[in-house]
Symmetry: C2
Subunit: 263 residues, 2 copies
């Protein structure tokens, strides 16, 4: 590819009403499609999360624990179908804003190994980008060579795609302003970390995995940890609040925007 | 795989109202899902056509001619999205009848070469079958290494899948009783061909390609021609009228049913 693509993640908590099962946030989806259309940056890959389409089913049928008994079989089908439906809504919005979006379904070409992407053929994504399309992938239920099946998070997908496509940068749209020193939804004194180096990120992550401290950031650090391989490959990561209008637009065109920059 | 799978094709003319764009035949889809559920034969692969979801868009944007100008880009996206929507309706019906159906999207893992499948990884389909799922594929718009993009017919997919999976047999559900000596929708004297050998099929096909006669069978012979590689691999093909209740059920469980048997 001549021009390096931007990989844009749209968080499940942004594009769905997280507390209501199977409920898309159509207003947010339409606004984001409009922002992406206005920014008009190509090549672009979009990855979205599952939000209230994926999580309730996945939890009910314990998909993340792998294939343990036959009662999960229908659960896997239902979870997968729910994720696919959310994707259909996102693609409809993108197309209505004249973005040539094409679904690329992770489970159709990927089998994880103990929850991790081991090998991933990017032929279709690359050829879609070369032809002028905007490939849209998503967190999906996938087959797993060790566990039977697994959940592939949008964040792991973003990191793997960006690294393999040698992306220019990653924009992660979430429902908070970025990484905070503590959970901003619970702690009013939480401070936004506007810049994070690889060294700082690894130190924070190390402290959490060593269990000397718990993840006080409201889960954001775990999310960011998935992106370490991309940061290591010198791909800039910008976390922005995609629930606030114009942030994704500004991030796409390279304007200054409130958020956490990791590089 | 220990047990050879059955490959079931559900024709686009059966599951959609062919004259009305984007209109599923929900009654037929639900009835077929019920029949498949009642038959309860595993392993099973389902492939469906596009009918009025695929054809109108594909025709309008000349997708079958390949990528010629940028105005087709949005057309490809729309056609693909339409095909995916029909698949969503089919999967919903299958799941509601307790069939563990999982969409496998051809365009996500396949790139044709001048309209033809050259290489096809069946890993996901095979592992789905082994785990107890019913993979559901469909005629799709795909990327093409020579033409940019192309239309992959459900019939080509059926033949390729059945051959590679060493299927036990293929059941092709269409909206007529089978192959006729002439077009049964236009000619009342048309006679159903109940049995066709490979030799007879090749003779008929040869006559058509040599243009000494035209395809008087209402397009059925062209459809069947796609299945020649499977017939050559000694996979039995049964064409039945899936618009008539119980035919697909009977065919699945191996009961005698009116149709055209090719072997």
């Amino acid at each position: 590819m001549n021009v390096k693509p931007i990989v844009l993640k749209l968080g499940g908590s942004v594009i769905t009403h997280k507390e209501k099962p199977l409920t898309p946030n159509r207003e947010a989806i339409d606004r984001l499609a409009h922002e992406i259309s206005q920014a008009n940056v190509l090549p672009l890959v979009i990855v979205h999360g599952g939000g209230s389409f994926g999580h309730p089913f996945a939890k009910a049928y314990k998909i993340n624990e792998g294939f343990k008994d036959s009662s999960q079989i229908m659960g896997f089908s239902k979870t997968h179908q729910a994720m696919t439906k959310l994707n259909g809504i996102v693609i409809d919005a993108l197309i209505s804003h004249n973005i040539p979006a094409v679904e690329v379904q992770p489970s159709s070409f990927m089998i994880t190994k103990s929850d991790r992407i081991k090998a991933m053929s990017n032929k279709v994504v690359e050829k879609l980008l070369e032809t002028g399309f905007v490939p849209v992938l998503y967190g999906d239920t996938v087959l797993d060579s060790e566990k039977g099946f697994a959940i592939l998070s949008g964040d792991q997908l973003v990191s793997s795609l960006a690294t393999q496509l040698a992306a220019e940068r990653i924009i992660v749209g979430v429902d908070v302003d970025g990484l905070y020193t503590s959970d901003p939804k619970k702690d009013k004194t939480a401070k936004l970390v506007q810049h994070l180096t690889m060294r700082e990120l690894k130190k924070m992550q190390h402290e959490i995995t060593e269990a000397t401290v718990t993840d006080v950031t409201g889960g954001m650090l775990g999310k960011i940890s998935e992106l370490i391989p991309a940061v290591r490959a010198r791909i800039q990561v910008l976390i922005v609040n995609a629930s606030k209008p114009d942030n994704v637009y500004k991030a796409l065109i390279g304007q200054k925007v409130v958020g956490t920059l990791i590089q």
